[in-house]
Symmetry: C2
Subunit: 243 residues, 2 copies
């Protein structure tokens, strides 16, 4: 039975980290709220809010695999990783991959806050001045700090080769896919600042490019299944927030 | 060999979620940067930044258990849970407990942002006006939304009894301890708003109280090992941010 992914149908958002893992592994899945099997956003919300669920997800994305329902992006990847061959076999390797994923998730949350520093309750237009201040700290302090950490992981990976590098071990993991997505989002939202920051993180830049060329990922990115970045998602391009 | 916990020595912060798990289980551990074994914050930072680490933590807290180094609060609890008997045995139960933990972590991050909506780069005093706006959204929208979810989990737990409720199954898990800590922090930072919100989440309030009475937790909370809440941590009491 194919995996069922439930996520907002018009944005990449947090669901994209799950989509990328499913796509890179060539897994069979349906993106339910995008109209698969005749369902839509209402069906997703109705499911989420049904009072008989004993383990209701707090928010999309969530994944259904038979009787298993998992929410929280990082937890979904923790579950899918071994099943899709996107994480090592040992507990230590799985834990390390997950730790990286959680750190990626932290920067993703901060990327969201650049355009909504006063909270999601008000429109961007009504918190633009504050967004400019928050985005400056994000671009100048936070992004370089995180990228330097990812760069150090790639540089220190004992399985690094001249032609390719991965965050964990010698093979593609879901953390690589997520780092690709994070960098891709930053390049969309803050193209000038991110290109500048990537000059100091050449291994991160190379990983981003090599993931984009991964056969199944490349096919996905070129397909209609890849929703374009837009100003409803987490990574939004507002030129006034770029450096 | 005792677990080594590395965290800032003067705040509860994210390290507190790990301390609570270790304390509730009666585990043997040293809180390194608090002067255990003659070490301090410098020793923690020096370790973290040593270039020969292939799996360097991004930030405290991190845990050392023999050769294993784990960073990220939720990943530390994922690792410790089974070892401390603070999570169920099946993969599904562990995943569910972890999913709850990640959702708790989301609200913890938002609690931090109430006093630093423009980023950690500037003092609270220099972003007070923005903090007032962000805290209002947090108090009126975010906290009730999250508490309602936790309440629903407690209400729906099939193993709930009349005298006690747990988030997962019929026994104490690290998610219960973390929800205690979240509520405790909210009660410190936003006493008026949180007491109001808890009236609509009586099972959450009861869980908070029952964890505080857990024998080992109560002994810990009364000890000098429990650092008092203060205005350097995540949960800060600024009366102007309360409702």
């Amino acid at each position: 039975m194919p995996y069922q992914l439930h996520y907002w149908p018009t944005i990449q958002g947090r669901g994209e980290f799950v989509r990328l893992a499913l796509e890179a592994a060539g897994a069979s899945y349906v993106d339910v709220a995008r109209g698969a099997e005749g369902k839509d956003v209402d069906a997703m919300l109705q499911f989420m809010e049904s009072p008989q669920l004993t383990q209701p997800p707090f928010a999309p994305p969530f994944l259904i695999d038979g009787e298993v329902i998992v929410g929280q992006t990082a937890a979904i990847l923790l579950y899918l990783g071994p099943r899709l061959g996107l994480v090592g076999k040992s507990e230590r390797r799985r834990l390390w991959t997950h730790q990286i994923q959680l750190t990626i998730a932290d920067l993703v949350a901060e990327a969201h806050d650049t355009h909504h520093p006063l909270g999601s309750g008000a429109y961007y237009e009504d918190q633009k001045k504050e967004a400019v201040a928050r985005a400056k700290d994000f671009r100048l302090v936070r992004v370089p700090k995180f990228l330097a950490w990812f760069e150090s992981l790639l540089a220190r990976n004992p399985r690094k080769t001249r032609s390719s590098a991965h965050l964990v071990g010698g093979r593609l993991s879901y953390a690589d896919l997520s780092l690709f997505q994070l960098v891709d989002g930053l390049l969309y939202a803050f193209p000038r600042a991110t290109r500048r920051a990537l000059k100091k993180a050449p291994l991160v830049a190379a990983l981003h490019d090599s993931v984009a060329q991964h056969k199944r990922v490349a096919a996905y990115l070129a397909s209609e299944r890849r929703i374009a970045f837009n100003e409803e998602g987490i990574f939004r391009h507002y030129p006034e927030l770029d450096g």
